[in-house]
Symmetry: C2
Amino acid sequence: MSTRNPAQLMPIANSQRTRAPAHLPQAHDLAGSIELIGAPMPFARNSEIYGEGEAAEFLYKVVSGAVRTYKILGDGRRQIGDFYLPGDIFGLEVGDEHQLSAEAIGDSTILVIKRSALIALATRDSDLARQLWTFTARAFDRVQNHLLLLIRSAQERVACFLLEMAGRLQVTDTMELPMSRQDIADYLGLTIETVSRTLTQLETQAAIELPTARRVVVRNRAVLRRLNG
Amino acid sequence: MSTRNPAQLMPIANSQRTRAPAHLPQAHDLAGSIELIGAPMPFARNSEIYGEGEAAEFLYKVVSGAVRTYKILGDGRRQIGDFYLPGDIFGLEVGDEHQLSAEAIGDSTILVIKRSALIALATRDSDLARQLWTFTARAFDRVQNHLLLLIRSAQERVACFLLEMAGRLQVTDTMELPMSRQDIADYLGLTIETVSRTLTQLETQAAIELPTARRVVVRNRAVLRRLNG
DNA sequence: CGGCGGCTTGATCGGTCTCAAGTACGGTGG
DNA sequence: CCACCGTACTTGAGACCGATCAAGCCGCCG
């Protein structure tokens, strides 16, 4: 209920063909193959797309909206694995089971593709096989960078997160974050309070502005970048 | 612990002295191909095997000794990506550059394999192609588990590390750790002092014994396991 | 206008880091 | 075999950062 429509300010550009930026979760040619055999499906805010341990029958491409993948830990905490924005592909497993769960963050449209078709194709098409491999390798690089984030200070984590989101949303300065503070916290391994405080600090340092809670204006990239490694 | 046995579904060709357990970084059939075309090389303690950013001309299989991969961060800290024990394969990149550096922890013998040969072979052999993909996927799962470790308490991290090493060294109770406290600290995102103190605590709690600094006797697995999620 | 969910802010607590000694161990040379 | 050394490890005291607990605020919608 009461969702502000989270997708509206995103530079969606593409309803059809991959016009997405060349950021990591994207495998360009793969995306091409996918659009040929995928079917678009609507998912409501916070609805599950798949669950951890379920058979990985499909893979997915975000058309509009945004998606989070996550695990629930033994103590009840949630760790977000990644966020996916329009153009991004997710849910491709090498094994038979999904390793994480996936949910729509806001109301979203997702292209759903049968995995078996793609895998079968890959045994005949060595080029496609290589693309699948490359896709997994990119996911690997992403999770490795994510890991490197978790050993840094709260300011560094948040600054890095903002820069990454700015890059992926391909904005010059102003962006509308699709995810809540809690989502950001669970991605960065912090509490919601620490994320909130840190954003306030960054605003105080004139690195960013926060006209609304979800809208972020990047004022001084150098300050943010200084917090990277 | 995370390990489902990764090798069992694969047709195994490998007759050689792979005495290693079937833990994650290992791809058995891949290993078979490798032993055919690889050449053993000695590396002295703390010597570099390859550096971050270098051309990924080779991949490697540990024959004896142990290896660490790592990155040096902007502030000078070191994050260890993974440890590799006899039987483990490492250094296989999808792209052209190594993403991390690799060093021998102690004096080691490493099998060195030309990557180009393997890649070329994979374009003709869809089975090998799938094995390469599977190998990368396992590395992905490993780094994801590593990431989940970093959001937990020091005790949980150390306990989990010990259980994993015990599994990989296939010991029932007593093991000799190949790596220093500093290595463990840099793997777990802790300081050397915290690792040391935590081991002492675990000993006090009768979960382990430390006859020497590097030798660990697992006394009470339940206590260690309780610290997992 | 009232209520609710998401966000911010404040005060305190606790775990890990930092800085600083102290100790055990393995290797080397006498 | 022992004395010595350097390296690796342990232990202690105090500081600091982020978590926790607890209000309060804002925007949105009925």
